[in-house]
Symmetry: C2
Subunit: 251 residues, 2 copies
DNA sequence: TCCGCACCTTGACGCAGATCAACATGAGGG
DNA sequence: CCCTCATGTTGATCTGCGTCAAGGTGCGGA
């Protein structure tokens, strides 16, 4: 009998002109001729939810952008303890120019499409194309800020605040992506399992579950099923996250 | 009576040629003419130990490099909880091109000298000088890696492992800086107070003190006074840090 | 020389979150 | 339709680290 592989189709764009991340990815500042040069070294790859894109330590002969879907960057210790160190959303860059091996496990948590560039030609092109390296610098600085903000969450926040922080990040992203407002209620699906949330937050999955239940009981969020979340009052959530300055309403 | 301000002198270089960080800072790849252009927009500033360089949220009209001494990047919550998000060593870059206000408190923990560039001309120069933005990209990617490694420490390591991790980082840096080997015993002075270590590690200063005492009792380290540390066996320390892969012996 | 202050250490105790364990829920497959 | 397995919830108990408290140490200044 023939097996029908669940093909994560859909988001693969026909060409850069109709690419959903055209104006946010590494290529954001490229001119037509530069896009054409990139086009010659690029290819698309699709991953099913749960598939590992690369294992830490493996040789990596490409870099690329997440086009659609979500991936995670995870570090694992010898005894099995795991810490997520990055959440890759559409337009985020994967891989590091000038490095042979992957530093972290990259796993697709939803069906995902990547736009990959062969590493050697990409590196060479970076030297000749300031538009690419300038944009990559900007994106890397943003990621560094995000990592540092996450250090505060990991080092100093309580379990409840950690959950609220994660929810507010996802809510904010979803609101801006769907052009929703942060005034009314926000509705979205959690893209992560409880275990993945625990890996992100430096908690156990039991604690994650308990704190989500507590936030639900206290009316900060409401749940339909296990993943579908409604935030009735975003400012209340920010208070629970002990998040001052409320992030300027944009990411 | 005349007050003699304790002038942190010494390390201010006469010109770029004899600058101690010439080959590791943002300017590492610059040619003579590029250095000359940088020279026109640069000035040195000295800070005594304990002085705040900038407060988070303050307008920042310069960027720059640490020439000598050590500074910390710290984030503070409204209720006073603090998390250090970066340790700035000689050659590290301070500030972010394209940003108006400082994102974190920057504090000199030892006497420190900075080589500052006026922000607007520096940003303009970056556009024309790929050598600068390429080097800055490389440094930012390194910092991102360091931040992510620190996320694992904050999220998943025990107090004892956290202390051992911090000591191994300082030991490794010191060994490479002084061209020492990692085979024999390593000797250095802690550049941080117990409180600063606690802020870095997401602990309280009492726990830091207790764990240092425990490591001393177990022979992993030995102490003369409160700051002068000897590591008799670096590999033992790495084991205590639960640090696999031992970092390849270089930074 | 002594004082004051910043920095550090150590002890007693409590609690947030980990651990261990049992059970619930729901989707996919035979 | 039921079984299985992945995922999630909830309870009981344990423990690592925080909190509160009481000194100790050593340097700079009067």
């Amino acid at each position: 009998m023939s097996i029908t592989l669940k093909q994560p189709e859909g988001a693969t764009p026909r060409d850069c002109g109709e690419c959903p991340i055209r104006h946010r990815a590494v290529c954001a500042r490229c001119e037509a001729d530069e896009l054409e040069a990139l086009d010659r070294i690029k290819y698309y790859r699709s991953f099913e939810a749960g598939r590992t894109v690369i294992w830490a330590g493996d040789r990596m002969d490409f870099v690329g952008s997440v086009v659609s879907g979500i991936a995670t960057l995870t570090q694992t210790m010898e005894d099995g303890r795991r810490q997520m160190v990055g959440l890759l959303l559409p337009s985020d860059f994967v891989g590091r120019p000038g490095r042979e091996a992957a530093a972290y496990d990259v796993v697709a948590t939803t069906d995902m499409v990547m736009c990959c560039f062969r590493k050697a030609p990409f590196e060479e092109m970076m030297l000749r194309t300031p538009h690419i390296s300038q944009r990559l610098l900007e994106m890397t600085l943003d990621e560094l800020d995000a990592a540092r903000e996450w250090m505060l969450v990991l080092g100093r926040k309580t379990a409840r605040e950690k959950i609220a922080s994660l929810l507010s990040i996802i809510a904010r992203r979803d609101a801006t992506l769907k052009l929703g407002s942060l005034q009314g209620p926000i509705v979205f699906d959690l893209p992560l399992t409880r275990e993945a949330m625990a890996d992100y937050l430096g908690l156990t999955l039991e604690t994650v579950s308990r704190q989500i239940s507590a936030l639900r009981k206290d009316g900060v969020i409401s749940l339909e099923g296990k993943r579908h979340v409604t935030i009735p009052d975003f400012h209340r959530l920010l208070e629970e996250a002990a998040d001052d300055g409320d992030g300027g309403l944009l990411t």
